[in-house]
């Protein structure tokens, strides 16, 4: 892990800790979602800094990160599957395919990508603010709190905790 990765990883872990805190304390959905989006964005950035150069603004988000993990070189596949608690790498690849839509929804919580609609940070729409994030039931919440969503939360936790073990992969 290079020094650039280290700083992004540390911030990702801190964001994730706040996510856990807000989820456990039952804060408004917007706060949990905000920190989950931040944590996943930063763990992806930490990963893509492995070249030592700034990753592109686009195509370096959380869904792309998952896709990269699903396409690593053959020599590393068994190790990565085990690291992420899967028995076989093909199981991990299949799992990634099932959660990519949730990953996209998490990524699109960022205000810049929310198309002037629901986002966890700012009232919307921008030109005529009407809706309050803290009072909003986000459409992603039932998915995220379903079995598949909870499973994704566990893997996000592992992605942060075990980052040094795959940062260079």
């Amino acid at each position: 892990m290079n020094s650039f990765q280290e700083v992004w990883w540390q911030q990702a872990k801190s964001d994730h800790e706040v996510f856990l805190l807000t989820r456990r304390q039952g804060f408004a959905q917007c706060h949990s979602l905000h920190y989950l989006q931040m944590a996943t964005e930063k763990i992806a950035k930490a990963y893509f800094w492995r070249s030592g150069s700034p990753p592109p603004q686009k195509h370096s988000g959380f869904p792309t990160f998952l896709r990269f993990l699903g396409q690593i070189r053959a020599d590393d596949r068994d190790r990565i599957a085990e690291l992420f608690t899967f028995k076989r790498y093909s199981d991990f690849q299949n799992w990634i395919r099932t959660v990519i839509p949730i990953a996209h929804d998490i990524e699109h919580l960022a205000p810049m990508l929310a198309s002037d609609g629901p986002n966890p940070e700012y009232p919307w729409p921008h030109a005529c603010p009407e809706f309050v994030p803290a009072n909003h039931n986000f459409s992603i919440w039932p998915t995220l709190t379903s079995g598949r969503g909870r499973d994704l939360m566990r893997i996000i936790h592992i992605a942060g905790d075990r980052f040094p073990n795959y940062a260079d992969t």
Partner: protein, 110 residues
């Protein structure tokens, strides 16, 4: 949330049925009251849509609900594969912390 007074067992039944109704991967929900706090609902949910795992460390996901109100409580959900559930029952796989299958209740979607 239908509860105005906190009734842990009936709330557990309500959550379990909601989960069974809305999540096609869940084949069974077990409510584990033993050793849990008064304001804590613990579930083991057997889920066919999560991939086979090699990790023997089981991690419940917890949510705080209605915090700061009379019905404040926490919901803990441990998702396991059918294979993991078999191993839990045969005590090859250990439940987290002081979780226990003693008095565990299977809640059906009725």
């Amino acid at each position: 949330m239908p509860a105005t007074q906190f009734d842990r067992a009936s709330l557990a039944r309500w959550y379990a049925r909601e989960h069974l109704k809305t999540d096609p991967g869940i084949s069974a929900v077990y409510y584990l009251p033993t050793n849990s706090g008064d304001r804590e609902i613990r579930f083991v949910e057997i889920n066919n849509l999560i991939g086979d795992r090699n990790d023997d460390i089981l991690e419940p996901i917890d949510f705080g609900i209605d915090m700061g109100t009379e019905t404040e409580h926490s919901l803990f959900v441990l998702d396991v594969t059918p294979e993991q559930w078999d191993r839990i029952q045969s005590q090859e796989l250990i439940l987290p912390g002081n979780w226990s299958l003693k008095d565990a209740t299977k809640i059906n979607n009725e």
